[in-house]
């Protein structure tokens, strides 16, 4: 294309509302041509101070109040003011309409990049990916957060800030264990939520009283007979269990647990799809903006600015760099998405061998398929190609504390591809990343103590926060809490709260 048939939307770097509107329209049109389905966008222009507020609240326009958000805010403010950290260009929320923030300081090119990335990239991911479709309710989340904020504020008025804060502290400590992995909750509106909350309160309190039944058990049952465990099966959703069964909690405390649980559930898919989500959004901003350029709608200067920030976003420092802090999800995601397109459009013999189903297929459909039906773990397992492994020069390091040296177990070669792919997929499996801890029994006939088991994976122990988290668990449960780490059925460590003698495990 020659420069003569260029009619750029804008030439300067300043943005205006009209320009943003125009860019959004053009990008939206191209996105639709590529078959991206999105929620309606709500683009909000905010200042950098507001961006810091948004940051501290994980982007939520409404959030309940808690000191830890104040801590995050102070941290961000401190780093930002000292110039150690630039603010992200964008925050986008999985809601309907999909709220995306643009910072007023950004140039026009950056705003366009953010629109392409957030409003069409992330937005279509939220709308399409099965995890988001199954586990989150984009329609009701903002309403729900509003309900949560008001409810917690009301509790603070009634019971005091400190009492509420301590429940929230405990819930936050267990937040990662407040997720239903299999059952899907159904959506309800905020008013409905409020109405139900009142009903739930009354009903739950009745249920709990079961634990308190003081009528003496029959003699036969008392002796001889082996007691039936209180739980039919182990419970992995600790917060859910506490909400429903903890004997001493007040109704409002149960409701707070529920709120934290719901929030955890809402964020759960994001934690499982980081690579895919960022990769998808990055791939699309790259594709959409290049398309804008090809159609003569943006200038060379625009492209230079865009490419510069695109390049820094997908930069992956090598493992021995001082800036290295793990694999950059933008890099990995973008590399895989782009490679998928390449496999469809220009398959090599290697691709034909590794991906016979998709080599040479329609790339738009294949990418849509990948975006809709996978999470990070399975996406990598399914689509990480030898080429990407070679490009990123991925290698596996085996660290076994029984051996004095660490071993390079696989590198980017013919023998290593499958191992690298498998290990990398495992690295994104939340089940491996977070210790597997479940409630196995409640001593209903004795002191109502709670027993938990940590099933160790590859002998990996719990870290030094365990005792502290157990204290929070104890606070919610109200009776003794015991945790055992098991490796192949053998107890390797025990934790108790309140602590028993000197058994406490030190690291």
């Amino acid at each position: 294309m020659t420069s003569t048939d260029r009619t750029p939307i804008s030439t300067g770097s300043e943005w205006t509302f009209e320009l943003i509107d125009e860019y959004d329209r053009q990008i939206g049109r191209i996105a639709a041509e590529f078959g991206l389905e999105t929620y309606r966008n709500q683009i909000e222009i905010i200042s950098s101070e507001q961006m810091m507020d948004a940051y501290a609240a994980s982007g939520m326009p409404v959030y309940y109040r808690h000191w830890s958000f104040g801590k995050h805010f102070l941290n961000i403010e401190n780093h930002y003011n000292r110039g150690q950290m630039g603010l992200a260009y964008e925050i986008v929320i999985n809601s309907n309409p999909c709220i995306a923030y643009l910072m007023e300081e950004n140039t026009m090119a950056m705003q366009a990049l953010v629109i392409a990335h957030a409003c069409y990239g992330h937005n279509s991911f939220f709308k399409g990916n099965y995890l988001f479709r199954t586990w989150t309710d984009a329609d009701s989340i903002v309403d729900y957060m509003l309900f949560a904020r008001n409810y917690i504020a009301k509790c603070e008025e009634k019971h005091g800030i400190e009492a509420v804060e301590s429940v929230l502290d405990s819930c936050h400590a267990l937040m990662n264990y407040g997720v239903d992995r299999y059952k899907r909750p159904y959506p309800i509106s905020a008013e409905e939520e409020q109405r139900r909350q009142v009903e739930r309160e009354a009903y739950l309190q009745q249920q709990v009283n079961d634990l308190w039944r003081t009528i003496p058990a029959g003699k036969a049952e008392k002796k001889g007979q082996k007691h039936k465990p209180f739980l039919d099966e182990p419970q992995e959703n600790l917060l859910y269990f506490l909400e429903k069964k903890a004997p001493l909690l007040e109704p409002w405390q149960r409701e707070i647990i529920r709120i934290v649980r719901k929030v955890a559930q809402y964020f759960y898919p994001q934690r499982q799809t980081q690579v895919m989500n960022e990769g998808w959004a990055t791939f699309w901003h790259y594709t959409l903006l290049n398309e804008l350029y090809d159609r003569g709608l943006v200038t060379d200067g625009f492209m230079f600015e865009f490419l510069q920030s695109h390049t820094s976003v997908i930069y992956q420092p090598p493992f021995d760099s001082p800036h290295y802090s793990g694999i950059n999800p933008y890099t990995l995601g973008f590399a895989m998405m782009s490679d998928l397109r390449r496999i469809c459009e220009n398959p090599t013999d290697e691709d034909q061998h590794w991906f016979p189903d998709i080599a040479g297929s329609n790339w738009v459909e294949t990418l849509q398929f990948a975006m809709r039906n996978f999470k990070d773990e399975s996406f990598i397992q399914q689509f990480l190609s030898p080429k990407v492994i070679r490009d990123l020069k991925l290698f596996c390091v085996l660290d076994d504390d029984n051996r004095n040296e660490i071993e390079i177990s696989a590198i980017h070669d013919e023998e290593g591809y499958r191992t690298v792919r498998e290990q990398l997929a495992g690295q994104y499996n939340l089940g491996n990343r977070e210790p597997n801890i479940q409630i196995v029994d409640i001593d209903m006939r004795g002191d109502r103590a709670m027993y938990l088991e940590h099933i160790q994976h590859n002998r990996r122990p719990l870290d030094e926060n365990t005792q502290e988290v157990l204290r929070h668990l104890h606070q919610l449960w109200g009776f003794d809490v015991h945790l055992q780490s098991l490796q192949d059925g053998e107890v390797t460590a025990t934790f108790h709260c309140p602590e028993e003698d000197e058994e406490r495990a030190h690291h």
């Binding site: 959004d24 329209r25 709500q42 683009i43 909000e44 905010i46 200042s47 101070e49 507001q50 810091m52 609240a57 808690h66 958000f69 104040g70 801590k71 805010f73 102070l74 941290n75 401190n78 309409p97 923030y101 007023e104 409003c119 800030i161 502290d169 936050h172 400590a173 937040m175 990662n176 493992f319 021995d320 290295y324 802090s325 793990g326 694999i327 990123l392 020069k393 991925l394 290698f395 596996c396 390091v397 085996l398 660290d399 504390d401 029984n402 040296e405 660490i406 071993e407 590198i411 990398l424 690295q427 977070e434 994976h457 590859n458 002998r459 990996r460 122990p461 719990l462 870290d463 926060n465």
Partner: protein
Amino acid sequence: MSYLIDRRLNGKNKSAVNRQRFLRRYKKHIQKAVSDAVGKRSITDVEQGEKITIPSQDVGEPVLGHGPGGKRTIVHPGNREFIAGDTVPRREGGGGGAGSGRASNTGEGMDEFVFQITQEEFLEFMFEDLALPNLVKRQLAGSDAFKTRRAGFSSVGTPNQINIVRSLRAAHARRIALGGPKRRRIRELEQELAALQAREPVLRDNKRIAEIQEEIELLKRKIEHLPFIDEFDIKYNLNVKDPLPSSKAVMFCIMDVSGSMNQATKDMAKRFFILLYLFLKRNYDHTEVVFIRHHTSAKEVDEEEFFYSRETGGTIVSSALRLMKEIMAARYPTSEWNLYGAQASDGDNWNDDSSVCYELLTKEIMPFLQHYSYVEITPREHQALWHEYQQVKEQFPDCFALQQIVEVKDIYPVFRELFQRRPA
């Protein structure tokens, strides 16, 4: 189509409450940092904000995670020379390679949590739990302070004060009142009409029926023509201005500038005065300061001269007290002003003079004062002045205080000691 919204005008301090909660939770840490800072700072910037540092583990939010150990495989990018099967010595503390991307959970790698508090917050923490002894006098001091207060409703006012509910209620009442007789008449006529129409068609008085119908029409039209809202329906919110009592304080700073006071001692005195001044300023709407310096004779001076000019000579403390008394009588009637005295000295005084000071203080000054504090800045033994002052304290235990300061770092603790909030 997207919605495009400009949110920049919305409040930016959404996190203010959470921030306050954080500060409240870590009050102890911050107070300690503030107290350290007061000791270290130069005089001119006692009022600045402060960088607060808290050990990370104290602000941690614990979650369950894996500790080091066991067997794990981590995938890293950027391989250069390794081939499969290579072994490498384990790096100290690294657990093999730089972090595995999990460290962010716990915020490891940062030993300290650092943040900034504002000047306002700094003062807040600095003077927390301190109270001014003795009640504060408040005075209706004329014109400058008012508070507007709602005082019911009025039928006159400006349009922005229209009370819509009241106005519409009045209009509704008026319409009911004015339409009442007509509606009653309509009901009567309708009854009559019904009675007439109930008769056999031949017996009907058609002329009367037409008359009645016409009258009903007329009445209905009249009711319709009642104005929906009339000027005298409109009610306005009535606000009245109440004058606010304001509190005024004057602080007398008295300092010995005789030869025995060196620059370092004066510096300490100044810090003490500044603390006191900031404290008073927070508690009163208006605060004035009177500087009196003395050697053998006393003089009222401005701030610059008070702290920086040097004189030599002997010391007669009573000269300053006498001057203070005169200024009090001339300019600060005790009915309006809250009076505070603060004196700093190294304890030297003309021997005979100390008892004069006692007389002056107990008889002519202390009865009018809210509080008088004396700090003696000396590492040496106390002299006559201190002992006389101790007797003053016995007479006025509530509003007289004396303390000794040896080093700069004593100042803030001594200050806190002097103004510690006491159970009433």
